[in-house]
């Protein structure tokens, strides 16, 4: 079929769907390389507006396109109206840049950023006309490789991937691209890929695989000419990753182990990279990103330098520690913003010791006071419920802290000044490679009761409470620590109509329930499953670099309700992340 004909057919479909701009490509800074001999399709398995902002894919887009003869083209999961229309008209899934069928790619890279996108992975493969299972693929099919944080437990999707890449793509993924560029033939390529220490090739059994760590974390791999999304995207701003990794050691946090050790970029390089990206994109906002930007030791000079060059720039510092210093920094960085977010995660000291969130009641109260004093009129606070060994006191503590924040607001805000407190509580989901990987999720009944209590007990004047959808949290729990047996469940659920599970209005609980039941289990059984210290875990063959002993120690400390220090300041915790050139690297 000629490409012109395919284009006409795509255009005809676009006349009939919602938000057709999701599928047209052509944004500023998009790269087209018609002369390229290899095509790499990069997929975020969710809607365009979610996927386009993802940093990991922007990094890979630059990494692949930076190679001679190789083109990266983007693909997202078509919304159901588009998917239906494509199936009716037998239109294959196509890349945004050149509207080429995804099936013509040499490599299809799919990033797994969240468990609730798993059903979309199958949707993407099916729409592309690629056999779902790696074992059924033939010579004409692309090599399908997964990556991203959720790939750290590859078991639930293992049969659908030819290979799973572990860790950070910069530099290490080049070896994969070398194979694609230089080796012809699917079998030969797979054989060569199986030699890569960072690739798990499921067809070869559960072999050991290591996590790639980008030791240099050099600024040259930071994408400058990023694709500027059409206005529907969730984030429309320039961003510079100032630091990777976090050693605060919060025991629930997957990123807190998966991206160790901490590597900071020098402030001068951050400033130049930020200004360069602003001028290439036309954004009027710059975000300094990391897992906890207020911990970045170059933050003060970085802000000062940016403010000197661009005094009116809208500068945002997401993910800050709950303390007065970060509140003041955030306020200084951005005068336009009226709302600020604090994430105490837990409201009582006992629970913060259990999860190793080393902040005190006093720090939280002072941060709230500082936020209102700085003129913020909307305060958001994030918490989790369902954490291990949670009692009623912890849930009550969240309600009390909401009320206390309101009282502080009333005292600090000028008389008659309007303000609001927004309390958000998500449901704790245990994740692999964390000290809580052995814990079961709290039962649905428990979480329901806690949510109901909070709705009753939380006053409504000037306080808004939002609670996460329990149904999708339970599913996330069932998938996150699932084993090989979950693959059939995911396929059955997708065949039953499950897709876009993270979108409450799209969530098909019936399809998931039927799929788990058919496998002789249930969402709740999987989500609440506890592992013993001696049990083999589905992700044991994935060597994150963090030792099992460290995770077990931390799990023990959690039961003893004792927090652990941060190795940046309190001495090495012997977690195992550092080796050779890979170690914490701070600029100050």
């Amino acid at each position: 079929m000629g490409n012109a004909l395919l284009e006409d057919r795509i255009e005809a479909v676009l006349e009939t769907v919602q938000k057709p701009s999701r599928y047209i490509g052509g944004e500023a800074n998009q790269i087209r390389k018609p002369q390229a001999t290899s095509l790499v399709a990069l997929c975020y398995p969710d809607a365009y507006e979610i996927g386009i902002s993802n940093q990991a894919l922007q990094i890979l887009y630059q990494q692949v396109n930076g190679r001679e003869g190789m083109a990266a083209e983007r693909v997202y999961c078509p919304w159901p109206d588009m998917a239906d229309a494509m199936r009716r008209r037998r239109l294959p899934l196509f890349t945004l840049e050149s509207w080429r069928p995804v099936r013509e790619a040499d490599l299809l890279g799919i990033t797994l950023q969240a468990e609730l996108t798993y059903s979309n992975v199958l949707e993407v493969l099916d729409l592309a006309g690629i056999p779902l299972r790696a074992a059924e693929r033939g010579e004409g099919d692309p090599i399908v490789v997964a990556g991203g944080p959720s790939a750290s437990n590859p078991a639930p999707l293992a049969p659908f991937f030819d290979a799973v890449f572990m860790g950070e793509s910069e530099r290490a993924f080049d070896a994969v691209l070398d194979v694609i560029a230089s080796v012809p033939g699917r079998a030969e390529r797979l054989a060569r890929l199986a030699e890569n220490p960072y690739l798990y090739v499921p067809s070869r059994g559960r072999h050991a695989v290591e996590r790639a760590v980008y030791a240099d974390f050099a600024i040259d791999t930071h994408p400058t000419r990023v694709v500027v999304p059409y206005s529907s995207a969730i984030f429309s701003r320039a961003s510079v990753e100032v630091m990777r990794g976090c050693t605060r050691g919060c025991r629930f946090c997957h990123a807190g182990t998966w991206y160790r050790p901490v590597r900071e970029r020098p402030p001068d390089e951050v400033v130049e990279a930020g200004l360069a990206q602003l001028s290439c994109t036309g954004y009027d906002e710059l975000s300094l990103t990391s897992l906890a930007t207020s911990d970045y030791t170059g933050i003060v000079p970085a802000i000062e330098k940016i403010k000197t060059r661009l005094p009116t720039l809208h500068l945002s510092l997401p993910s800050n520690r709950v303390d007065t210093g970060p509140v003041a920094l955030t306020a200084a960085a951005n005068a336009r913003q009226s709302s600020i977010t604090l994430a105490p995660e837990a409201a009582t000291q006992r629970m913060r010791d259990i999860i190793c969130k080393t902040i005190t009641d006093e720090m939280i109260e002072q941060a709230i006071e500082a936020a209102f004093a700085a003129g913020y009129t909307s305060l958001k606070m994030y918490f989790m419920i369902g954490l291990p060994r949670e009692t009623h006191d912890e849930v009550q503590g969240i309600v009390d802290l909401g009320i206390k924040a309101r009282a502080i607001g009333r005292r600090v805000r000028p008389a008659g000044g309007r303000f609001s407190v927004h309390v958000s509580a998500s449901n704790f989901v245990p994740k692999p490679h964390t000290p809580f990987q052995w814990e079961g999720m709290s039962s649905r009944a428990q979480l329901e009761a806690k949510q109901a209590y909070m709705r009753r007990a939380m006053p409504t004047r000037q306080i808004r409470l939002s609670l996460h959808d329990l149904r999708t949290s339970m599913l996330e729990g069932a998938l996150a620590r699932g084993g090989d047996e979950i693959a059939d469940v995911i396929e059955a659920a997708w065949r039953g109509g499950a897709r876009f599970d993270a979108w409450s209005e799209m969530y098909r609980e019936d399809a998931w329930e039927a799929a788990f039941t058919a496998a002789g289990t249930s969402i709740d059984e999987q989500a609440t499953r506890e592992f013993g210290e001696w049990d083999e875990l589905p992700w044991d063959h994935v060597r994150s670099g963090i030792s099992r002993e460290f995770l077990l120690d931390e799990w023990g400390q959690s039961r003893a309700e004792v927090a652990t220090g941060d190795c940046r300041w309190d001495g090495c915790t012997d977690c195992g992340a550092c080796f050779g050139p890979v170690r914490n690297r701070l600029v100050n």
Partner: protein
């Protein structure tokens, strides 16, 4: 300084929504090195307005945007630098300094070309349309009661040439009509449904003064 940008939207870019078109224009202006004036008030917004929103899927040959840039610039240079930054499918036709009320307040009419199949006797249908006192169209919208509208009063001119209907639609205080609506209304007079292949807005006519302005 206010500049009036005349621009064309073709190809895949016609699938951009009105809001996306505005944002695309703003981003391109910033990348071209221009600073856009901000509105006054609690939530300052860049000062830009498109004369007429463009429905998703409709092409345009000469749509209009008024934007206020900081500083004085050579309009020809604005045109060149902006054009270089716009995505494929959006092209600058002209830039000129604008004075007086913004274009959005002065739209008088818009001309459209509707590409149609020749499965309707368009000449006869158009004669019937011209002779009719009124031509009622039912507008449906989700969650709202159906509304019947006489579209003849909005269509000040309509011509047919093979494969094409060219029409001039008036923007009035009471509203206007969509080009596809007119095509269907005309085909309906022959008891047919029009097969529309393409919609192109060819120009937007402005009044010298805004509607209701005191002179």
């Amino acid at each position: 300084m206010t500049y009036r940008i005349t621009f064309a939207v073709t190809g895949r870019a016609r699938f951009l929504s009105h809001l996306e078109t505005v944002d695309t224009m703003l981003g391109a202006l910033r990348r071209a090195g221009y600073q856009i004036a901000l509105s006054k008030g609690m939530k300052p917004r860049p000062v830009i307005s498109l004369a007429l929103p463009r429905a998703v899927g409709v092409q345009a040959q000469a749509d209009l945007a008024d934007v206020v840039l900081l500083g004085d610039h050579d309009p020809a240079e604005v045109a060149e630098r902006l054009d270089a930054q716009l995505p494929h499918g959006i092209a600058v036709v002209a830039v000129e300094p604008a004075e007086g009320a913004k274009a959005a307040a002065r739209v008088d009419a818009a001309e459209y070309e509707v590409e149609v199949e020749e499965d309707v006797d368009w000449e006869r249908a158009l004669r019937a349309f011209a002779a009719a006192d009124s031509c009622q169209v039912v507008r449906t919208a989700p969650g709202k009661p159906d509304r019947t509208v006489d579209v003849t009063r909005y269509c000040s001119n309509i011509e047919h040439e093979p494969g094409l209907l060219r029409m001039l639609l008036r923007m009035t205080d009471a509203g206007t009509a969509r080009p596809d609506e007119i095509a269907q209304a005309v085909a309906g007079l022959e008891g047919r449904t029009a097969t529309i292949k393409r919609l192109v807005r060819t120009r937007i006519d402005l009044r010298p003064q805004p509607v209701g302005a005191r002179t």
